[in-house]
């Protein structure tokens, strides 16, 4: 197979970063990204892009840690370069505060982020309703800039992008040798994964440039994430809701909760409300599968189900998916050379 043709379905952070990894590990591959939505209309565009991992119950912790470490290291290297502003990548420090001391005071990722430590008594005075907190420095990938930067790098590597709704992976078998399924929430329909469910999230994006630090309630429901131009205020977690329409009551509730953590937000301007459906699953599906139909085989690599933690592990899962693509190619080359005998 001189030039394997790979189709990546999905153009959110997972699809684009996986496509990029494939161009890096398999320079001879011809890669195309197919998606019905591109930035600024993907789920990733709604997210703040903070590197604070979500814990997946069914994925071994060491694997999650490896994914996060790989992602953090990759972005850390870019964050201090001249490319960082265009890529939307920047460091941000802040606090995660808890109303009562959590069972786990040292999360698995505490040694990967920078300067992780418990908050001092003096720092906690700023949060009268909270008893315990953690201070650290992490990275943020602002969207759309990060996705646009990935698209730019993909185009430079010769990747084609097509706006196209793929209703069935088999549609692609005549044009492509390997399909990589990064369809996020779309995998529910595309591959019929009933373990995948939406968790609706609503966020507010406001102009409050004096907010330089993140604040996150340990319950994960309330957070303030300062981006390059806007601050993302969140949020909501509605399991099973497919609605993409902003809800006014939720907006008021989010704003009130965030103002109680950071009163100066009362002076914030220019509010934009956005909704995204976290493509949630008990474990991220990074897996090879060979579909077969009527004697024809279609190798598929799945990379979806990142839920609330897509940005935190995107590069790690992309690298793993790219390895699976390599394995696929070897298998295909093996079988094609056997076919020649």
């Amino acid at each position: 197979m001189a030039s394997p043709k790979v189709a990546v379905v999905g153009a959110g952070v997972i699809g684009l970063s996986t496509a990029l990894c494939i161009t890096e590990t398999c320079p001879s591959c011809s890669v195309a990204v197919l998606s019905d939505q591109f930035s600024p209309n993907t789920t990733s565009d709604v997210a703040a892009g903070m590197l604070i991992p979500h814990t997946y119950p069914d994925t071994p912790i060491h694997r999650q840690k490896q994914w996060f470490k790989e992602t953090f290291t990759y972005l850390f290297a870019i964050s201090n370069s001249a490319e960082a502003p265009e890529a939307g990548i920047h460091l941000v420090s802040g606090w995660q505060v808890f109303k009562s001391t959590p069972k786990e005071v040292l999360p698995f990722w505490s040694d990967i982020v920078l300067g992780f430590r418990a908050m001092s008594e003096a720092e906690l005075l700023k949060f009268p309703q909270h008893q315990f907190g953690q201070a650290f420095t992490t990275l943020k990938c602002d969207c759309p800039p990060y996705l646009l930067w990935l698209e730019k790098r993909l185009k430079a590597a010769g990747t084609q992008m097509y706006t196209r709704k793929v209703a069935d992976l088999w549609e692609l078998h005549s044009e492509y040798d390997i399909v990589v399924n990064c369809a996020g929430m779309g995998a529910h329909q595309l591959v019929g994964d009933k373990q995948l469910f939406p968790v609706r999230g609503q966020v507010l994006k406001v102009h409050a440039p004096w907010v330089k630090q993140f604040i996150r309630d340990g319950d994960g429901l309330t957070y303030i994430y300062p981006g390059i131009h806007r601050v993302t205020l969140g949020g909501s977690r509605e399991k099973g809701s497919w609605s993409l329409s902003p809800d006014a009551g939720t907006t008021r509730d989010i704003f009130d909760r965030c103002c109680s953590l950071e009163p100066s937000l009362q002076g914030a301007q220019g509010m934009e409300v956005k909704v995204g459906l976290r493509p949630s699953r008990q474990g991220v599906r990074v897996q090879r599968e060979v579909l077969s139909q009527g004697g024809v085989e279609l190798p598929v690599i799945h990379n979806y189900g990142h839920g609330a933690g897509g940005f935190s592990v995107h590069r790690g899962t992309a690298v793993e998916a790219a390895h699976l693509v390599e394995e696929c190619i070897s298998a295909l080359q093996g079988s094609s050379s056997r076919a020649k005998l």
């Binding site: 001249a82 420090s93 300067g115 420095t137 907010v211 330089k212 630090q213």
Partner: protein, 348 residues
């Protein structure tokens, strides 16, 4: 009783506010007048980035360390107030960088979350092998001075746009107390060879991705003669110039290049930053702050002068502690003049 305040920078305005807050209820005839040739946005305080951070060493001057602490605590108490945004006040975290280990500063327990940098953090700053991380405050002069002016105006304080050439000009005719907050130009009112300009130059850029302050230190050189990057609410300030004895308020191309090159080396992402402004100012440097009373005979009149100047590059950092100290001196004067039975706050 009329009080003349000379100078409308952070020191003059905050001293005026502090005195009015404490004494207007006790001295019904109290009238404050602020005289200055420069008002916001043209004062030295307007040019400063506004980061609360004292010098590395207090040189044993515990009084100044205390004033710094009083200022920090006062500002921190306002951080959640409705006024904070208007005041230009917000929390900010960041880095102090060194090429060798140094003792902890006098202010380590004043700021929040003070700690040493980890090896991984130091990877961000090649050439620096040691440093601190802490959370401090920003108080932007361009917002704070108008806020102080509004508070004073609401209280009936009058403002006069004039260059005062002598204490005599404003004293007499019912003005019994003069507050000398004339900063760099105090020498015009009364010669003070200890007061020297510490010239600084800054470049203002648009770099909203920068969320931390970064202050480097060159222990062989003077403070502020090493690059620093301070993100404000609108612009990021790049600096690193301290020229003792240089009175020029003109921007220097040589200093521009030095600031730009050293800051871009410190933070490569700045290469993409758009330059929007440049400014030079004179830090009113003195071995210690002059905060004391002086009785001056001016013709037939005995005028009481409270000096409050010489705050170098830490005016914003120390201002409120000094304002309160000036107010205490004012209280002493009132007591002596039998305007007050006892100073406010004293127990009988």
């Amino acid at each position: 009783m009329r009080v003349a305040i000379i100078g409308a920078g952070v020191i003059g305005l905050s001293s005026a506010l502090c005195i009015h807050e404490q004494f207007h209820g006790l001295v019904p005839s109290l009238e404050l007048e602020v005289y200055a040739d420069r008002f916001t946005p043209h004062t030295t305080s307007d040019g400063a980035a506004g980061l609360w951070q004292p010098y590395l060493s207090d040189h044993g001057n515990l009084q100044e360390t205390l004033w710094n602490k009083e200022t920090f605590d006062y500002l921190l108490g306002h951080i959640h107030s409705a006024a904070a945004k208007e005041m230009g006040l917000f929390l900010i975290s960041g880095y102090n960088l060194f090429t060798e280990p140094v003792p902890d500063p006098s202010w380590k327990n004043i700021v929040l979350g003070f700690r040493n940098l980890t090896p991984k953090e130091l990877e961000l700053f090649p050439g620096y092998s040691y440093g601190w991380f802490n959370t401090a405050l920003m108080l932007e002069g361009r917002s704070y001075l108008p806020w102080l002016t509004n508070r004073l105006t609401q209280r009936g304080v009058k403002f006069f746009h004039k260059k005062v050439e002598s204490f005599q000009e404003v004293s007499g005719d019912g003005v019994d107390v003069v507050l000398n907050c004339s900063g760099m130009r105090s020498g015009d009112l009364q010669p003070d060879p200890q007061l020297q300009p510490g010239r600084g130059q800054i470049i203002k850029v648009l770099a909203p991705w920068v969320k931390h302050f970064i202050v480097t230190h060159n222990l062989k050189s003077s403070i502020y003669n090493s690059p620093y990057i301070i993100p404000g609410s609108e612009f990021t300030v790049l600096g690193g110039i301290y020229q003792h004895g240089n009175w020029s308020e003109e921007n220097s191309a040589k200093d521009h290049k030095s600031i730009w090159d050293s800051c871009c080396q410190l933070l490569p992402t700045l290469q993409k930053a758009k330059i929007v402004d440049e400014w030079s100012g004179l830090r009113p440097a003195r071995p210690s702050v002059r905060l004391e009373r002086e009785s001056i005979r001016l013709g037939n009149v005995q005028a009481e002068v409270i000096h409050n100047y010489g705050h170098g590059g830490f005016g914003i950092t120390i201002h409120w502690g000094c304002a309160m100290a000036a107010a205490r001196l004012f209280g002493n004067i009132l007591q002596e003049k039998k305007q007050l039975a006892t100073p406010p706050g004293a127990r009988l």
